[in-house]
Symmetry: C2
């Protein structure tokens, strides 16, 4: 039974998509089967895994609005054992359409069906907002992985995010827990990064992953080749960090 | 009659709030009176201008949902001639409440009233989405300033953004134009930055500001002191870049 992990943070540009793509590839390198669900209309994790969005026919929009099962939209990526439920520009209309319909928060969970049994991990990439696309991911997830950029502004939205997680746990998904908080874009040359990292560790304690993702240019270059950093430059600091993270995520994985 | 500029881009973390705060301060340094309207529930530009959000009573939420005029929520900042219509956590509920009401796209424009006559520039900071908070800003604006981070993923969402701008121009705000595209977080040490910059210039031509904002740590340190970079480290490359940008923005300002 695979663990379903939502990658959430409404602060923009903190590394949600980069983590979805590179953690997925690293988990595969550790022998796991992984599915990435791209719930962000921007479709960055879809293109980061090598898909040409203009060529994609079925996408996550079809599961949320047209009632298709997630298994009907899943497609292969540039790596074996790594599949993706892609996003296209059509998803941009979903937020408003969901608001007008019924069971608007549970569509993704229903569409998931037994799909997670075919994978060891399912990673859901979310847009930078706390709207219905993200709430669907929170409702469908077993646990959450919260990327936090080592910057001052990134601290401000965390209490809002935790508030929404509590609401969803109370009304829609009672077993939802925060599996880990991931420090991203850590720049060892600045005091700011270590100050923010200390603040996050004070607040979240052991929930913060030991692995810290450094700011590393290979992580921003790899998407332009449609490859996870492991396939673009496997010896880079960025690739090494995500491999270490994968081992930690497996260690905290589902028991039994 | 002040020019109302919306800072929009649904891609997260591209420098919308950083530009709102620092362009505003630089315009003031050039002798202009400026208002920043913070339409993002994260409230980064509110805290970046030195306000303690927990102490704020009236905010943009009150203009969008409770029918108050924008002039009733405006407050001073750490700089003379620079005012802000702040955001608080209450704004997080606005998107859903707007969707349920009438004239949901034009509330900010109505609330603006004659406020823009008291300023030379009004800058509206937007959240990283194309939902109703951003559409309200597009409807209320004379023109748009689009920050684009010099990274590959930042290119992907531009066509969606332009599509929404066209829709708003067609149905809600016929005089809306793109005043400028701003390249941000340019890192001269990487090929990626110059490749992305070239691509953006090929697409937008002269609309791209000559001023390019470099990646500069003072820009991410200044918010933790609640100060624009001009007051935090006025001789830094970040401060100099936003001063040059202010001169360009004034040059492209309203005629007459
Ligand atoms: N550790 C890193 N080092 C250097 N660049 C990084 C790193 N992580 C992410 N990036 C780059 O920073 C930008 C933001 O990352 P990303 O798009 O993954 O964030 P996000 O949270 O998914 O953004 P959004 O909120 O728009 O969905 C991207 O251009 C990405 O390539
Ligand atoms: N030129 C720059 N150099 C270095 N850091 C920068 C620069 N511009 C912005 N930053 C930092 O990058 C992060 C993202 O910038 P910012 O928050 O302004 O983007 P945004 O588009 O407003 O994000 P959101 O989409 O969440 O609203 C912030 O932590 C900010 O301090
Ligand atoms: Mg993303
Ligand atoms: Mg912002």
């Amino acid at each position: 039974m695979g663990q379903i992990l939502g990658l959430v943070n409404q602060k923009g540009g903190v590394g949600k998509s980069t983590t979805a793509v590179n953690l997925a590839a690293s988990l595969v390198a550790c022998g796991k089967r992984v599915l990435v669900v791209d719930s962000d209309p921007q479709g960055n994790s879809t293109s980061g895994l090598g898909l040409d969005k203009t060529g994609v026919e079925r996408c996550v929009y079809d599961t949320l609005i047209n009632g298709r099962g997630l298994d009907e939209v899943i497609t292969r990526t540039c790596m074996d054992d790594l599949d993706v439920a892609p996003s296209t520009i059509r998803l941009a209309g979903a937020e408003v359409e969901l608001a007008a319909g019924d069971s608007r928060e549970t569509r993704l969970r229903s569409a998931m069906g037994t799909v997670s049994e075919n994978y060891d991990f399912v990673l859901i990439d979310c847009p930078p907002s706390l709207g219905l696309l993200t709430v669907n991911a929170l409702t469908a997830s077993d646990g959450l992985l919260i990327p936090v950029q080592c910057e001052y502004y990134a601290l401000e939205g965390l209490s809002q995010l935790l508030h929404v997680v509590d609401l969803v746990r109370g009304r829609l998904n009672s077993s939802l827990e925060i599996i880990g908080v991931l420090l991203t874009m850590y720049d060892a040359r600045t005091n700011l990064s270590s100050q923010v990292a200390d603040e996050v560790r004070n607040h979240f304690g052991k929930t913060v992953y030991r692995t810290v993702i450094p700011r590393n240019v290979t992580l921003s270059e790899a998407p332009s080749f449609g490859r996870p950093v492991l396939l673009y430059d496997g010896r880079s600091k960025g690739a090494e960090a995500y491999l270490r993270l994968a081992e930690e995520v497996i260690g905290r994985g589902k028991k039994g």
